[in-house]
Amino acid sequence: MIETWIAAFLTLCVFSFLYRENPFYRFAEHLFVGSAAGYLLAVQWNSVLIPNVWTPLVHGKDLVVLIPLALGLMMLARIWSKGAGIARWSIAFYVGIYSGVAIPGYMQAQIFAQLADAAKPWPAGFAGVNAALVFIGLITVLAYFFFSLPHRGIHGVGARIGIYFLMVAFGASFGYTVMARVSLLISRVQFLLRDWLHILPS
């Protein structure tokens, strides 16, 4: 099918970068940027502007929707250097909302819930040993990230232990990162071998 051949050609254009940068790769890169931006605009129009602005305004006669529409258009004024002042009002509204939403969200889910789980009684047996290690790890890593005091004495010892916990965590993250990146490649090779060259069964 022609579409599969176009997709395969573009895939190989990108892979050609592994040998060296070349015009095919640059073409694919610029096509990607333009098509992604165009798709984003088309989706905003169809999924947000029509159902959440146009339809309530024109068919529902909801004039209140003119407020966010005006704020949105003011945001676009940012594109011109003289329009930065107008755009500030929209940005201020938008940033204020997200800041207000963030406070209870982070406090509840990331601070209180995690501290509550850390403060639970330790079970008996091997699970208790693990729970103790988790607790020690939490305290020592927090000690490491506390830079207001120099890492000396007890604080220094705690911070050093915290570093070891962090290294294990980052090692685990790195192992998983390799897994993630390799998965992306496997998928593309599956496409080339199965959908394009029909070497693999569908």
Partner: protein
């Protein structure tokens, strides 16, 4: 030139070739290595499997084509599980470029399981704003989504009729490759107490273990390996399972490369020369 110096000055395109061979060979000649299911994926499966038929589930597929390799097979597997269980799926996405992928996942899973649009699943499509959408769904679904992706009012769709917020949903399933998962935990679960199951890329998977421990999320499916485990649990042979042999071989290759690189460093140090290489170094220096 010592062997250590020869090894460390190897052209990177040789390494690229090794990786490419490591991917292609097992795809052409599968090794059929067994896939063991890990406890976190089992927990995710069990949480969804425990839902009674007819339960409504919100599935948010928050990813774009750059990470579809991990999350698309996961989406199809989870959707097929939901359809097998006769759960009613309300699907959405918070990423504009996720619109096409979400549709494709729904069509693929629906075709395989005989699910019907609007009767077994609804496709709400994309809305901008992340947190505001999540909070908005919790307060008034129709305020965020007056119509579905195809322009049909939600009251006309059997799946979404009577659904006004998370209270009418049995579970929220988030498949994401970004901080959207953090916001689902903060708002859908933290604020509105919706049971939450998470699927994410392998890069992010290690970050969510604290939320598993605190029971803020019921299960975690991480990366293509997680998708392969889920496919095994529901008894399908999808792209994720097919890719696991290649994953194993390339991991072995990368691990060997790291070991060889460090051996070369060790040998060169013993010989009194430092061949450099950018060290990870100590965080306290």
């Amino acid at each position: 030139m010592t062997w250590a110096r020869k090894v460390l000055s190897i052209d990177r395109r040789i390494i690229f070739l090794l990786v490419a061979v490591g991917v292609v060979l097992p795809l052409l000649r599968p090794l059929n290595l067994p896939i063991t299911v890990t406890p976190r994926v089992q927990a995710a499966y069990d949480a969804i499997d425990a839902l009674p038929p007819g339960s409504k589930v919100l599935l948010s597929m928050d990813y774009e084509p750059d990470i579809m390799a991990e999350l698309f097979p996961m989406s199809v597997a989870v959707l097929r599980h939901c359809f097998k269980k006769h759960l009613q799926v309300i699907a959405m996405t918070l990423y504009p470029a996720g619109t096409g992928l979400g549709q494709r996942a729904l069509h693929t899973a629906a075709k395989a399981e005989g699910a019907v649009l609007n009767k077994d699943y609804a496709w709400l499509g994309y809305k901008s704003g992340f947190q505001v959408v999540m909070i908005g769904i919790g307060e008034n679904l129709r305020g965020m989504y007056p119509v579905d992706f195809y322009g049909t009012p939600l009251d006309s769709i059997p799946v979404t009729r009577g659904v006004n917020s998370y209270r009418q949903m049995a579970m929220v399933i988030n498949l994401s490759g970004s901080s959207a998962t953090d916001y689902w935990i903060q708002f859908a679960q933290g604020r509105f107490h919706a049971p939450l199951v998470v699927g994410c890329t392998a890069v992010m998977a290690t970050d969510y273990y604290p939320y598993l421990s605190s029971k803020q999320i019921l299960g975690l499916v991480g990366g293509m390996k997680g998708a392969a485990e889920y496919e095994r649990l529901i008894g399908i042979l999808g792209d994720a399972r097919r890719g696991m042999d290649a994953q194993s071989l390339v991991h072995l290759i990368v691990a060997l490369l790291v070991i060889v690189g460090n051996l070369a460093l060790f040998v060169s140090k013993r010989a009194g020369e430092d061949l450099g290489g950018r060290a990870t170094g100590s965080m306290t220096r």
